[in-house]
Symmetry: C2
Subunit: 212 residues, 2 copies
């Protein structure tokens, strides 16, 4: 059975939703970012990068959201979450996910993880100031072309949809008014209505069980 | 026939090498970063992101290195550049490429593209100072686990290899002594000896033809 390491409010939500949508047999383990558990020796033995998500499969451990999403789509083909028999259409799916991972998520990360790229507190503050602009530039491209509608790839729901939904959770926190991007906001609403999404979000946002 | 838009010294080298190794029928078009051609209306019509690489196929345009590399591997299966029939092994390939794209390349980009994430010149200078450290942290993980050797995924040459070779071109520029990472340096040397790599590198580094 697949075991997913996740933390609330992070990109691991995308793989969590995809597993649920795929009808996979899986369990989850919550990593406590407040206590820096992602840097604990125990977790670094699972994922030396010290980040979520990580997914334990019967063959070994996988990381990196775009790779995990494609793996879920390929492992549960009956769920039809990617055009597996069409290399060009599959590449379009992957290009969208790669853009979220390497450009949009990176722009967003300059709000809370600036220490990755500079030590000077003034530089970190300067990065934070630019987040609303750099993240909005990504959403311009998504709103005006990449998001075909009603789902990201058009009529077919794919592994792009949980990923866009996941990063779109961060809009307000990044200083962006969702109404600026009505098609993205509409996609977020439509995703929120899916039973799999409601179930996963409820689980992730439930208070962590306090151990005695 | 595939048409690849590339610029020397950028990550487009990975797809260029992969096309050559795959035996693909393709042509190339050089984008002149010195004149900011990647932001010209003509090029933005090809790739609205204003970046390289972009690949024109008979079905349409693809962008994003990890997606393009997987597309090349799937489109030319006889070249055996990825474990196409094994979703777990394919996900390992993709996880490696995603890490290069979203973590290593991003760390590197703070040397010359800091303006993406901050406006203040002092902040941009602070980012540049941290590049040797943040890029080296990526190579620690690659050297000590991710690079299995002799090729990235072990005995099989895959689409991970041209990508690692491509980013490893930037080591010295990022202030890193390659001898610090002997397995990465050895991989770079081994790649340099491949006929496809020699051909592509020679083409990319040849002086641009000056139009009369």
């Amino acid at each position: 059975m697949i075991k997913l390491y996740y933390a609330p409010h992070t990109c691991s939500l995308a793989s969590h939703i995809a597993l649920e949508e795929a009808g996979a047999a899986y369990s989850t383990l919550r990593i406590n970012f407040a206590s820096n558990e992602q840097r604990s020796p125990e977790y670094l033995a699972i994922n030396p990068k010290g980040r979520v998500p990580a997914m334990v499969t019967e063959r070994g451990i996988l990381t990196e959201t775009p790779a995990m999403l494609a793996f879920i789509a390929q492992s549960f083909p009956q769920a039809r979450m990617a055009p597996l028999d069409d290399p060009f259409a599959f590449a379009q799916v992957q290009a969208f996910n790669s853009y979220l991972c390497a450009t949009l998520h990176v722009a967003h990360a300059h709000r809370m993880r600036g220490h990755r790229w500079a030590d000077d507190p003034a530089a970190i503050a300067a990065m934070q100031r630019k987040v609303p602009q750099s993240v909005a530039a990504c959403y311009e491209l998504i709103e005006n072309g990449m998001l075909k509608g009603p789902w990201v790839m058009g009529d077919a729901y794919t592994i792009c949809d949980p990923y866009l939904f996941t990063v779109a959770q961060w809009l307000e926190g990044d200083g962006i008014e969702p109404a600026q991007f009505p098609r993205v906001a509409d996609h977020r609403r439509r995703m929120s209505g899916r039973p799999a999404v409601r179930k996963v979000v409820a689980e992730e946002l439930a208070p962590a069980i306090v151990e005695a």
